[in-house]
């Protein structure tokens, strides 16, 4: 019998801790499929963040390091500089990358560090129970913006792909979403391109993936996908923000 669908080899055969309906699982799968397709698993080292994806080191079948909150790009820098033949990626949430780790992220990009960042933007702090993130959109209610984020009071969200596109060392920055089949297929293309760029030594690559947090958004999984589509995508438009091959 022909096998038409199975678990990617780069993904471990264990059940994950993510909440039911959380799109972290889809994003893990996309990264794993890309590692399989490009035959990279054996030379890849991944870096897990602090956040819901902290246990990512249990899920990818490659060597993995766990980094301090926000420091994954610096850890990835050390790994890559020590062994440039390895493919190095980080997998980070928005609190991790865009708050405590802003400096590490921007400077890894500025150095044109030849690594790939998978940036999961769910507009909220998931792991600590739903506090406001730098990416929380105006009006969004979270545990620490209980009346809805008011930019006059709490400041404006950070748009990471837009920001990093202005940094010369960034080779590729694209924002994708995993709210629909079409968008999932696009997301995979972007992730694949980012890894291909790293293989070719083109420099810093980041794929920002708009993701759901049904638990902390307080929505059913399907409603969460709808909320993402109707609220996050308009604020964080999808598309390629920087591509050294094109721009």
């Amino acid at each position: 019998m022909e096998i038409v669908f199975q678990r990617p080899k780069a993904l471990s055969d264990v059940s994950s801790h993510y909440c039911p309906g959380c799109t972290h699982g889809i994003i893990h799968r996309l990264v794993a499929e890309v590692l399989d397709e490009l035959d990279l698993t054996g030379k890849t080292v991944g870096v897990a963040p602090v956040g819901c994806a902290v246990l990512a080191y249990n899920y990818f079948e490659c060597d993995m390091a766990q980094a301090a909150h926000g420091r994954a790009p610096a850890v990835a820098t050390g790994l890559k500089r020590a062994n440039p033949a390895n493919i190095v990626f980080t997998y980070q949430g928005d609190g991790d990358l865009a708050a405590i780790g802003t400096a590490e992220t921007i400077h890894a990009a500025a150095r044109g560090e030849n690594i790939t960042i998978i940036f999961v933007n769910n507009a909220i702090y998931g792991m600590t129970g739903g506090q406001m993130a730098p990416t929380t959109i105006p009006g969004q209610i979270t545990q620490t913006s209980p009346y809805g984020r008011d930019p006059k009071y709490a400041g404006f969200p950070l748009k990471i792909c837009e920001t990093l596109s202005t940094v010369d060392g960034t080779a590729y920055a694209e924002r994708v979403s995993v709210d629909s089949v079409k968008n999932v297929i696009n997301a995979k293309k972007a992730i694949k391109k980012a890894f291909e760029y790293q293989v070719a030594g083109k420099g810093f690559t980041i794929v920002e993936v708009l993701s759901t947090c049904s638990t902390n958004w307080g929505l059913e999984p399907v409603e969460a996908l709808t909320w993402l589509r109707e609220n996050l995508i308009p604020y964080y438009p999808l598309g390629v923000y920087k591509d050294k091959e094109v721009f």
Binding site: A48, Y57, A65, R71, V75, L79, H107
Partner: protein
């Protein structure tokens, strides 16, 4: 024939690291240790190594974390305020049992303090270089030659015990120039790092470098195991003694203070006071047994240090307060004079007689 080169303390550290096989240095400028970084920036590109100027001390130590995870000998260097920023990374490295060498050329504090030499980071180095239950090996050179030798040794100890090893110097040692025999350097270690993240190449199970353990029992077990290792590390505790055989007053001092103390001891002997010096070379593990043994013969101790009195606590603990322990200290970047140490010796001897 031994090759002697005139070098600054900071440069000796950098050259020693290179001779020890370190090819990955991550730094951020701060006085009075900047020569370490400058030396690395000059040398590393010529020998196929990496000198990377990070955006902060936090990033630098995390780059060390990454490079060490990949199995290479890695290093960072800073001074007091920068070391505070590295404490997060040091704790993560301890939790992941990663080896690396860290240099602290201390300046006065607290806060931004000053840029003159100090020893006021002793507690931070030996007690709590970060959150959680852990230790670093701390080595305290007192000559430029020793800055070289101990740096080579630091890499060996780090690899052997899978621990961070700190070279704790001060601004004066960093800046002073002395001839150094650099033929004493040794090539890279032979310790195998089968835990390193180098890519599985499809040949082995994945390696994971991690310090997260959500099960309290598992974490406790790992912490206990780490402390078993620390008990083994106690064996490396050592001192350098000067005229201690018959000494009645024993000075305990490390780094530049030990050199000042020697002059004072010579003068004291000329004045008929039997003084001697115990210089801890390892600050962690602290040479407790050596001090305990000295307390059996000596009548009094004088601790000379450039802080408000930090190492003095270790001395008192080691001898279980069985002898009077006096403090002779300066702080804020002031260096004790031989005269002030001599006065402290005389006062201690006087107190014993009366």
């Amino acid at each position: 024939m031994a090759e002697k080169v005139l070098m600054k303390g900071n440069e000796a550290i950098a050259e020693a690291a290179i001779m020890a096989g370190c090819r990955h240095f991550f730094g951020y400028p701060i006085t009075p240790q900047t020569e370490v970084a400058a030396y690395m920036a000059k040398r590393m590109p010529k020998i196929g190594g990496t000198y990377l100027q990070a955006e902060s001390e936090i990033a630098a130590i995390n780059m060390v974390y990454g490079a060490s995870s990949a199995g290479v000998r890695a290093m960072t260097s800073s001074s007091s305020p920068g070391i505070s920023l590295k404490s997060e990374g040091l704790s993560y490295m301890a939790g992941s049992d990663l080896p690396a060498v860290l240099v602290n050329i201390q300046r006065g504090g607290p806060g931004l303090g000053g840029i003159r030499p100090s020893q006021s980071d002793y507690f931070q180095a030996t007690r709590s270089s970060g959150h959680g239950d852990f230790h670093m090996i701390v080595l305290a050179p007192n000559t430029v030659q020793e800055m070289f030798d101990l740096t080579v040794e630091a890499f060996e100890l780090a690899d052997r015990y899978r621990m961070t090893t700190m070279i704790l110097g001060d601004g004066m040692l960093g800046q002073v120039m002395e001839p150094v025999d650099i033929s004493r350097g040794e090539a890279a270690s032979t310790v195998t790092k089968d835990w390193a993240l180098t890519g599985t190449k499809g040949q082995r199970k994945r390696n994971i470098i991690n310090s997260l353990y959500l099960e309290a029992e598992e974490l406790e077990m790992l912490n206990l195991k780490r402390f078993e290792k620390y008990a083994d590390v106690e064996k490396i505790a050592r001192t350098d003694n000067y005229l201690t055989e018959d000494a009645e007053v024993i000075i305990v001092a490390y780094g530049i203070c030990a050199r000042i103390a020697r002059n004072a001891i010579n003068e004291a002997r000329q004045r008929g006071i039997k003084a001697g010096l115990i210089r801890p070379v390892t600050l962690w593990p602290f040479p407790k047994n050596q001090l305990k043994a000295a307390a059996e013969k000596a009548k009094a101790f004088v601790v000379v240090e450039m802080s408000m009195g930090q190492m003095i606590q270790d001395v008192e603990l080691s001898i279980r307060c069985s002898r009077p322990v006096h403090l002779c200290s300066r702080t804020g970047g002031m260096v004790p004079t031989p005269e002030s140490v001599l006065e402290a010796i005389e006062n201690a001897a006087q107190a014993e007689r009366s």
